[in-house]
Amino acid sequence: MTVRQLTEIQGFSPVVLADPEREIKNVYIGDLLSWVMGKAQQDDAWITIMSNVNVLAVATLADTACVILAEGVLLDADVKLTAEQKGVNVISTDKSAYEIAKILAKANE
């Protein structure tokens, strides 16, 4: 599934779509940024409730396909601007990390 296809699923909305055709290969869930930096893989959809600018740095370093902000978390305007400038895909949803993971697992079947 591509990042754009994910945003077309009900309940998901694009925050920043810098590279919408990027393919999601796997999923990583975590909020402790230093931990995520070591564990998240390239092309993962990374689900988190963190929303500061460091999230974008970790997403860039780990080269994740997109950041999915769970449980209604949104980006501040300046962080959103940075995501646009650095080309980081960000999607938001009210769903929990578990619900998002279930949807992604089903889509990958």
Binding site: L33, S34, W35, N54, L56, A57, T60, L61, T82, K86
Partner: protein, 186 residues
Amino acid sequence: MKELSLNILDIAENSVKANATLTQIILKEDADTVTLSIIDDGKGMSEEILRGVVDPFYTTRTTRKVGLGLPLLKMAAEQTGGEMKISSKQATDESKEHGTSVTATFNKNHLDFTPLGDVASTIVTLIQGHPDTDFYFEHTYLQNSVNFDSREVRQVLGPEIPLNEYEILEWISNTLEEQYKNLYKV
């Protein structure tokens, strides 16, 4: 980071990379707060670099000389309602003073407070990796304290013995461990 001791290691490594001859790591703790200071006499940073140093993209976009250490430490402090301050001075023609000082305060009763972790191991790791530079370490809790000064060890052993010999590291580790046994006894 999972433990503040890992943040300390990261920041102190910056000090060593900045050619510090002495890096001071000071933890002051009471019932409610922890204040961490890392003070070095390294080459210091220009005002321009200093302004960008807590922006993770500033550090990742260039040659990554600084890393994510400062942005993550700042975040760890702020998520407990604390803060991080950093000041730095480069040597000039008028003044020979130079170095960088990072101070982070934490409310340790906040749910999002990152545990200190094994600070003693961090100190030993630093000495092991950088036996030719000096480290001063102090951890106080109310009236109690843990102290270590590599300059004192060097004075006793003589300058020709490197501090990263196994027996010396073992001794440093033991002396810290012994002192830590009494730190929280009030």
